[in-house]
C-alpha cells in the first residue's frame, strides 16, 4: 500500500515536474523557484496527457491490451524525457541554476489563505464521497482494463462482451486512471475515488497560480487575493451540477472534470500569455505554439468534445487577436497548431 502510494505520488507529482521543466525554463517570465515548480508541474502534466492520448487511442482501436499500452507509453515517455534532458543540458542548465539560486519570493497573507482552502479541498476529496452514476461507466472502464488487461472490450454496466461506444473510446481518460492503478499496484477504485482527485484539484490551483502570475506581474499581494477569491468561488461553486467547480470537487476522476477545471482554464491562461506576447513583440514563440498543440491533444484525452472545445476557444481568441492586434499570421498559426488534435474528433465522427 505504502509502496503504491509512493509510486502514485511519483507519477502524479514528480513525473510532470520532470517533463515540464524545459517548458517552464523556456518561459522568460519564470524567475522564481515556486513559479518554476508550478509551471513545470502544469506543463509536464499537459505533455504527459498529450503523449498518452494518441498512443492509447491507437491501442484501443487496434484492440491492444492495457499492458501493451502501458509499455508503449512508458517507452515513449522515456524517449521524450531523454530528448528533454538533452535540451535542458544544452540550453537551459545555466538558467536553471540561476532560477534555483534566486531567493524565495514573499508569500502574501491571502495567498496563504488560498493555499489553506485548496489543501482543505484536497483533504476533503479523500474523506468525502459524491455518488455519481457516471462513475459506473468511467471508473468501471478503468477497473475492467486492469482486471482483464483489455481496453474498452466489455460493456462496463454489465460486463458482457459488447463493444463500447466510440464516443468514449476516442477520449480514453479512464485508461489514464487504469495506467496509474496498474503501475502503482493500488486498487483502481481507490485510485479513482481517493488517490487521484487531489491531483486535479492541485492542477486546478496551479493553473490559477499561473494565471495570477500573468494577470498581476510583480504584485504578490494582488496574486494572493486573486487566488483567495478563486478558492472561495470554487469551494462554494455548487450553484449548479454543471459548473466546473462542481465537477472539480465532486467528480474529479472523470475526464470531463479535468477538462472543465484544469484543461480549459489552462488554455485560457496560455492565451493570456500569448496575448501579452503578441502585444509586446508582435510574435508568438514556438514554445507557446507547441503548447497549443499539446493542450489540444490533452483536452481530447479528457473528453470527445474536448478537442472541439479547445479549437473553439483558440479559434475565437485568434479571431479577437486578428482584429485587436491587426495580425493575421500568428492567429492563423494558433488555429493551425490546434488542428492536429481535431483528428480525434474526426475519428469519432467518421467511425461512429
Amino acid at each position: 500500500m505504502i509502496k503504491g502510494i509512493v509510486i502514485l505520488i511519483m507519477l502524479e507529482l514528480l513525473a510532470p515536474v520532470l517533463f515540464g521543466l524545459v517548458f517552464a525554463l523556456s518561459d522568460k517570465n519564470v524567475t522564481g523557484r515556486k513559479h518554476l515548480l508550478i509551471s513545470s508541474f502544469v506543463n509536464g502534466q499537459i505533455l504527459l496527457y498529450a503523449l498518452f492520448q494518441p498512443i492509447t487511442v491507437f491501442s484501443v482501436f487496434k484492440k491492444k491490451r492495457l499492458t501493451y499500452n502501458t509499455k508503449v507509453f512508458i517507452i515513449a515517455a522515456c524517449v521524450v524525457l531523454l530528448v528533454l534532458i538533452v535540451i535542458l543540458a544544452a540550453r537551459y542548465l545555466k538558467r536553471l541554476k540561476t532560477v534555483l539560486t534566486n531567493p524565495l519570493e514573499k508569500v502574501s497573507f491571502w495567498g496563504v489563505a488560498a493555499v489553506l482552502v485548496f489543501v482543505f479541498m484536497m483533504i476533503m476529496s479523500f474523506f468525502m464521497m459524491y455518488t455519481d452514476g457516471d462513475d459506473a461507466y468511467y471508473v468501471t472502464t478503468a477497473a475492467e482494463a486492469v482486471a482483464s488487461d483489455t481496453l474498452y472490450a466489455k460493456d462496463p454496466y454489465t460486463g458482457t462482451g459488447t463493444v463500447s461506444s466510440l464516443r468514449y473510446m476516442s477520449a480514453p481518460y479512464p485508461i489514464w486512471i487504469a495506467f496509474l492503478a496498474y503501475v502503482s499496484g493500488l486498487h483502481v477504485t481507490a485510485v479513482a475515488h481517493s488517490f487521484f482527485p487531489w491531483t486535479i484539484i492541485l492542477l486546478s490551483f496551479s493553473v490559477l497560480f499561473l494565471m495570477a502570475r500573468s494577470l498581476f506581474e510583480g504584485d504578490t499581494k494582488k496574486r494572493g487575493i486573486f487566488l483567495f477569491f478563486s478558492s472561495i468561488l470554487i469551494l462554494f461553486g455548487d450553484y449548479s451540477i454543471y459548473s466546473p467547480e462542481n465537477f472539480l470537487l465532486a467528480r474529479a476522476r472523470q475526464g470531463k472534470a479535468a477538462l472543465a477545471a484544469f484543461m480549459l482554464p489552462y488554455i485560457v491562461c496560455l492565451l493570456i500569455c500569448i496575448a501579452k506576447e503578441l502585444e509586446k513583440t508582435g510574435k508568438i514563440t514556438l514554445r507557446n505554439l507547441i503548447l497549443i498543440t499539446f493542450a489540444g491533444f490533452a483536452a481530447s484525452l479528457c473528453s470527445t468534445i474536448g478537442g472541439a472545445l479547445c479549437l473553439a476557444l483558440v479559434g475565437l481568441t485568434a479571431l479577437c487577436f486578428a482584429f485587436v492586434y491587426k495580425n493575421i499570421k500568428y492567429p492563423l498559426l494558433m488555429i493551425l497548431m490546434n488542428l492536429p488534435a481535431e483528428a480525434f474528433v474526426l475519428l469519432y465522427l467518421v467511425k461512429r
Partner: protein
C-alpha cells in the same frame, strides 16, 4: 431552437447569483480594463462565446459532434471564476489598509453566499472507505469473488452503479442502463425484478437462463419463498444471498 438553449442556460446558472456577478464583472472590465491582452481574454472572448452559445447553428453543430444534452459544456469556455476574481481584486485594491481587508472579506462573504458549499450537497457524504463505496457492496463483492473467474450476480437496484467499479469480475444481467432509462430491448428478468411481482418461480427460471450464479436481495425486499433452483447461501449486511443449485447451460458451476 431557443426553447432548447434557454433551459440549458437556466440549469447552468443554478440560483443565478454567480451569473449576475459574472455579468457585472464583465461590464466592469469592459468599462475600466485598459490592457488589451486582458480585455481580449476576459471581455471579448467571453462575449463571443456567449453569442456563439446562443446561436442556434452552434446548437445544431454541437448536437452533430456530441450530444445536445451536454451543450452546457460550451459555457465552460467562459472563465467565470477568474473573471469574477480578477474584477474583485481590482475593486479591492483601490482601497488600502483596513478598508481593503474589509472589502476582501466582504467579497469573500458575497461569493460564499452566491453559491453553495460543495460539501453541503445532498449527494456528498462521508466516505466509508477509500473506495468511496457503500460498505455492503465491498462486503458482498468480497464474499462472492471467485479468483480468476467471472461470476454473474443479480444485484439489487441500489448497488448496480457500484458493483463493477469495485469488482469488474462480477457481471450483472442488467446494470445501470436501467437507471438511465437506456432500455433498448425488453429484459424479462429486469422487468420481473424491478417492475413485476418478483415471483420466485419466474425469477429463478430467468436467472438460471441468464447464468446468474447468485441473486442478492435486500432483506426488506426478499422473495416470498426461495427462488427456483436457488438456495439460501448467506446473510450479509442486511442482504440475503441466494446461490444457484444446478448451473444452467453455458455456465460454469460454483464449487464450495
Amino acid at each position: 431552437m431557443f426553447s432548447h438553449i434557454l433551459p440549458v442556460i437556466k440549469e447552468y446558472m443554478g440560483v443565478g447569483i454567480v451569473s449576475v456577478l459574472f455579468l457585472l464583472s464583465l461590464f466592469y472590465l469592459a468599462v475600466t480594463e485598459k490592457e488589451r491582452a486582458k480585455r481580449v481574454c476576459f471581455v471579448y472572448v467571453p462575449v463571443l462565446v456567449l453569442i456563439f452559445f446562443l446561436c442556434p447553428v452552434s446548437y445544431v453543430i454541437y448536437g452533430k459532434i456530441s450530444e445536445s444534452v451536454t451543450y452546457y459544456r460550451l459555457l465552460w469556455l467562459i472563465p467565470v471564476t477568474p473573471v469574477i476574481a480578477y474584477s474583485a481584486v481590482r475593486i479591492c485594491t483601490r482601497f488600502s489598509g483596513l478598508k481593503q481587508n474589509i472589502c476582501i472579506l466582504a467579497f469573500a462573504g458575497l461569493f460564499a453566499l452566491s453559491g453553495r458549499l460543495m460539501y453541503s450537497d445532498f449527494y456528498m457524504i462521508e466516505a466509508p472507505n477509500m473506495y468511496h463505496m457503500p460498505v455492503q457492496v465491498v462486503d458482498i463483492c468480497d464474499a462472492l469473488h471467485a479468483e480468476g473467474r467471472e461470476i454473474m450476480v443479480l444485484m439489487p437496484y441500489e448497488f448496480q452503479q457500484f458493483v463493477r467499479q469495485y469488482d469488474p469480475n462480477i457481471c450483472m444481467p442488467y446494470g445501470r442502463e436501467y437507471m438511465m432509462n437506456i432500455i433498448v430491448q425488453t429484459d424479462e428478468l429486469r422487468d420481473e425484478m424491478m417492475e413485476g411481482g418478483r415471483d420466485p418461480e419466474i425469477v429463478g427460471h430467468l436467472a438460471t437462463e441468464r447464468g446468474c450464479h447468485y441473486i442478492v436481495v435486500s432483506q426488506f425486499e426478499d422473495f416470498a419463498e426461495t427462488p427456483w433452483n436457488y438456495e439460501e447461501f448467506m446473510n450479509i449486511d442486511g442482504y440475503k444471498v441466494y446461490r444457484i443449485i444446478e448451473a444452467g447451460p453455458n455456465m460454469w458451476a460454483l464449487q464450495d
